[in-house]
Subunit: 259 residues, 2 copies
């Protein structure tokens, strides 16, 4: 079955959605079939994939609450190797609903396990998480084989990382013993900025091999792309952003050869 | 009593904490007494104010759950006009606790109303919110006179704004009829970047007077300051960032003269 990777960090605006969209597109460019799952009530990944808000009647909330099967809510895109389960703003009310349920942390895992057939048509599933360590994010961690953490090259970014790694350990102990760390990717990196260089040094000193060799540079072409409902690979294929996300995809593929 | 303003936007990384810290410092510089309340489990505002993690045993969680009075958990700072109620990571579990309570949206308002004495020593209270429309943020909206929304000059930013304005209207209808919009402030603005100019044009066309005249430029001095536990006004008083936050403070003061 597919490798399931949760892209998460409770710090906001660090490049989670940008990484889901562009890593997804870079894997798809190599002929790999990828399913994106949008678990963020903001629905930014759904927007970046061109899903109009009017087309979001069946969403990940239905999947979590067992109201719809995966196959019926997958939306295809212009790219034959890339599909998405969209999110809607109702997800922000999911927390109140999820908390009441007995198996509240396992809803996504159970929903994904139910549809063996559908899963088999994908080699990777990437899950976009909201900026919080709530039950929606816990569901993503319990359902995933690995977690990939975008780390913005800024001061506040390192502060939240230890809290996230503690949560990953707790999920491993409580519900998903095989959850591994796919890696930490530095985003919005600006080599002329001391702060960026400092964050990279701290991250590599403290986390060593966990930090991807690939660093995603700050690149205006990346932030322009979603307004055209394109990945940066389509929007500007030779941009620094497109080149970096292709390099990240190569590292992710190399790490998953053995599965 | 003090004017209470919630600084909020469920989109992550748009400059909420940065605005709380630097608007707070700019008001304090004019001799105005300001209390900051950190409602974000990441505790970035607490860090920016120099509150060590070891000093966060009494926090906003205790205030919400009625376990501590405001006066006992306020921490002073080097700046005589600026104090803070710190946050701790336990806040991320508050949601589960808050949801069970009958008056779950009013806990902060009640806690702030209890201590008339303490409140009177401040002229502004600024509340830093987490990147989500959860009960913690709802508590801030119910407790506040006004909401100030940092809007990052990027594509995804406008998408979340309409959802936030809907929530403000709902809070007004359900619990806080006087809640007004203090304003929307463009952050990380780069005049050489078409996307920034486009977002500004869209915001001013759609929201008119609600958008502050002051625009906060992208300025590396702003992102360096928290690593020294300083506001940008202290870190580099003549920087573009410091000048912009002083201008924002002047607008906020002008708008609150009548109260
Ligand atoms: N490498 C980059 N260079 C330039 N801009 C970037 C880069 N990565 C992301 N951005 C922009 O920064 C903003 C934040 O990125 P994004 O929305 O992907 O973060 P996020 O972690 O998903 O945010 P949230 O916490 O709200 O879900 C977006 O406007 C995005 O276009
Ligand atoms: N005008 C600016 N110029 C340059 N950097 C900025 C500016 N405003 C904020 N930043 C930096 O951008 C990052 C995001 O800002 P900040 O953490 O204040 O946003 P936030 O909305 O509070 O995030 P969260 O949603 O995680 O609470 C921080 O690293 C901050 O230092
Ligand atoms: Mg996102
Ligand atoms: Mg913040």
């Amino acid at each position: 079955g597919p490798r399931i990777i949760a892209i998460t960090n409770q710090k906001g605006g660090v490049g989670k959605t940008t990484t889901v969209i562009n890593l997804g597109a870079a894997l798809a460019e190599r002929g790999i079939k990828v399913l994106l799952i949008d678990l963020d009530p903001q629905g930014n990944a759904s927007t970046a994939m061109g899903v109009e808000t009017s087309q979001r009647s069946s969403t990940t909330l239905d999947l979590l609450l067992g109201k719809a099967e995966l196959l019926s809510i997958i939306q295809t895109s212009k790219n034959p190797n890339l599909a998405i389960v969209p999110a809607s703003k109702d997800l922000s009310f999911a927390e109140v609903e999820l908390i009441k349920r007995r198996n509240r942390s396992e809803l996504l895992r159970q929903a994904l396990q139910k549809c063996q057939e559908t899963r088999r048509s994908y080699q990777f599933i990437l899950i976009d998480c909201p900026p919080s360590l709530n039950f929606i994010t816990i569901n993503a961690l319990v359902a995933s084989h690995a977690v990939l953490v975008p780390l913005q090259s800024e001061f506040y970014a390192l502060e939240g990382l230890s809290q996230l790694l503690v949560t990953v350990r707790e999920v491993r102990a409580a519900g998903n013993p095989n959850l591994r760390i796919e890696g930490i990717v530095l985003t919005m990196f600006d080599r002329r900025n001391n702060l960026s260089l400092q964050v990279e040094e701290d991250a590599r000193d403290n986390l060593g091999e966990l930090v991807f060799k690939t660093v995603i540079p700050r690149n205006v072409r990346i932030s322009e792309a979603p307004s055209f409902a394109k990945s940066v690979l389509e929007h500007d294929p030779t941009s620094k952003g497109a080149i970096a996300y292709r390099a990240l995809a190569a590292e992710v593929i190399a790490q998953n050869q053995k599965y």
